[in-house]
């Protein structure tokens, strides 16, 4: 750039270049995305025709996540865990990860407590849903909103 470029000209050029770069990188790294509809479908696959009620299951996730690559979480459900009345499974779903399924955990009465802790990836600020399947065939769900600053799945290998 020549010595006599005015401040305005410089800013215009630099701004234009930055915008162009930004646009290009958005297009280049646009990852596959599940949609809320895809999540509903994934939930439907697990639940079938049964009605999903609100409550009974608890999902603990930090509300603000700095690094989406490893997000600690605990999912649990209140249950006496007897042979007649226990939690059969806990399922996790996300709205905007490339794929809506996260994990399914299956228990029996011998688990003693229906509670699992693990670490997951979050590709974006989104809603995470936990669904609990009881031995009587009913389903219960809860959802948590998470704000993610650094998304997972974007970095190059």
């Amino acid at each position: 750039m020549s010595q006599n470029t005015s401040r305005r000209e410089f800013l215009l050029t630099a701004g234009g270049a930055a915008a162009g770069l930004g646009l290009a990188s958005v297009i280049a790294v646009e990852p596959a995305r599940a949609t809320p509809a895809a999540m509903q479908e994934a939930i439907h696959k697990v639940v079938g025709a049964a009605r999903v009620n609100q409550g009974r299951v608890k999902l603990e996730l930090p509300p603000l996540v700095e690094n989406g690559n490893t997000v600690p979480l605990t999912v649990s459900a209140e249950s006496p865990m007897t042979a007649a009345d226990h939690v059969k499974a806990l399922h996790l779903f996300t709205e905007k990860n490339p794929q809506p399924d996260v994990a399914s955990f299956r228990f029996g009465p011998r688990a003693g407590r229906a509670s699992v802790a693990t670490r997951m990836r979050l590709a974006d600020t989104q809603t995470v849903i936990a669904i609990c399947e009881l031995s009587d065939g009913s389903f219960w769900s809860t959802s948590v909103n998470v704000v993610v600053t650094l998304a997972a799945c974007l970095e190059e290998a």
């Binding site: 596959a32 011998r110 688990a111 003693g112 997951m120 799945c153 970095e155 190059e156």
Partner: protein, 106 residues
């Protein structure tokens, strides 16, 4: 390559609910990433985890790419009898890893 870490209390009272923590080293490659040259990195994840207590299955997990690298899973069980807790992870590319821990119940 793979390396599993298990945390099970060595002793427990009969009927007590014990917590089991497991950690295994694994990249959990999602299959959605690309190299700098644009080539897709193939998926390589652990798909299933099973825990058996003296041969009886007590816990099972089905994992998807949304589980973070080096999967950590903590769950609980009722200490019913002395014996062995066996753990098995299976995944893509024929991945299979086992571990076990002994527990004394009084």
């Amino acid at each position: 390559m793979a390396n599993a870490l298990i945390n099970v209390p060595p002793r427990a009272k009969r009927g007590e609910i014990i917590e089991i923590k497991t950690l295994i080293s694994h990249p959990m490659e999602t299959g959605y990433r690309r190299t700098q040259l644009g080539a897709a990195v193939p998926r390589d994840i652990i798909r299933a985890f099973v825990c058996t207590y003296n041969g009886t299955e007590i816990f099972r997990a089905e994992l998807h790419p949304a589980i973070a690298a080096n999967p950590f899973i903590a769950f609980s069980t009722v200490a019913t009898e002395s014996g062995t807790l066996a753990f098995q992870w299976t995944g893509d590319r024929g991945f299979s890893e086992t571990a076990s821990a002994a527990i004394t119940v009084d």
